[in-house]
Subunit: 160 residues, 2 copies
DNA sequence: TCCGAGAAGTTGATAAGTCAACTTTAGAGG
DNA sequence: CCTCTAAAGTTGACTTATCAACTTCTCGGA
């Protein structure tokens, strides 16, 4: 800690952050404009869509998305109101145990995936050679490992 | 538009997004824990700090940050209340024309930059060989160019 | 000088995300 | 069968972000 970054390191960081921000904004707008959903809604929809039976446990959704569970809960409430998802198995109380796509949700996600995939390709993948892709993947995995090691290893030891 | 992604392309995308999310979360927490400020506050502080005279026009701040101007305005109001920034030149109405760091803001950002730089190094730069860094930089620049071309060129023509 | 268009900045309503506290459920141990 | 504990899920209050509408400035042309 308490060490400084060289100017070109700062510059790399800033450039990377800027690219991310622009990319996110562009993808968000595409989703909103073409399909009327937010990126958050899209994430929930595809996650459910990929699941076998198009439904899953709330907790598994939390893990897949990597969100706070309260965020998932609020999001599901809103999406239930919009008619995109529904409980597939109601617990004794008014509580969700399993949640799944409705016909509407299913239809929307199928459309949205196509458009979104196109945008991801256009903005993200097309600017990428295979070697670059490999680099990005490897480096992303390093970051993930470093911050969230596969299982109960300590976070900052080991790599000393 | 309307084309699909291969499984390994989706996987690259997911991995990259996950890495970003974890990295952001980690950096946010560091800033909050060690310096009591949010990432948004930090961004404003460093941007002003790097400016000559430690002050700038609101509109330039908007451009540098790449945020919506209303977001910047709200953020500045909060930060004025916390005593981090202040108007350096008051317009005729209660309006900000130029905004700058206060002594407090200046002190905080100096501390925070050190800690934050350390975290950026630890999580982001350390996992990077020089070639990887070059790749990431080049690719980030491509994304920026593609979405926000330097000056009034059309967004999607040209690269055909 | 006066007008009008557009830039610059603010505001308030609403949506989304975070945090901590709470309730219900499920399971292990007695 | 009971109880205790932890996990799962929800809730409400609070913070932050977005959107659209608004006000105020600036500046070029009649």
């Amino acid at each position: 800690m308490a060490e400084t970054l060289e100017p070109d390191e700062w510059d790399l960081w800033d450039t990377w952050m800027r690219a991310r921000r622009l990319l996110d904004r562009e993808l968000d707008r595409g989703l909103q404009r073409d399909h009327g959903i937010s990126k958050a809604e899209f994430s929930v929809l595809v996650t459910l869509w990929r699941a076998s039976g198009r439904e899953m446990r709330v907790g598994d959704l939390v893990d897949s998305l990597g969100w706070e569970k309260s965020r998932v809960s609020h999001q599901l409430t809103r999406m239930e109101n919009r008619g995109f998802v529904a409980q597939t198995q109601a617990g004794p109380s008014g509580r969700r145990t399993r949640i799944g796509l409705t016909a509407t949700g299913c239809r929307i996600v199928q459309d949205a995936v196509l458009g979104h995939a196109g945008n991801i390709r256009r903005y993200f993948l097309d600017s990428l050679t295979p070697e670059q892709a490999a680099t990005i993947r490897a480096w992303s995995e390093q970051i993930i490992d470093r911050i969230e090691p596969p299982h109960g290893e300590t976070t900052d030891a080991g790599a000393a």
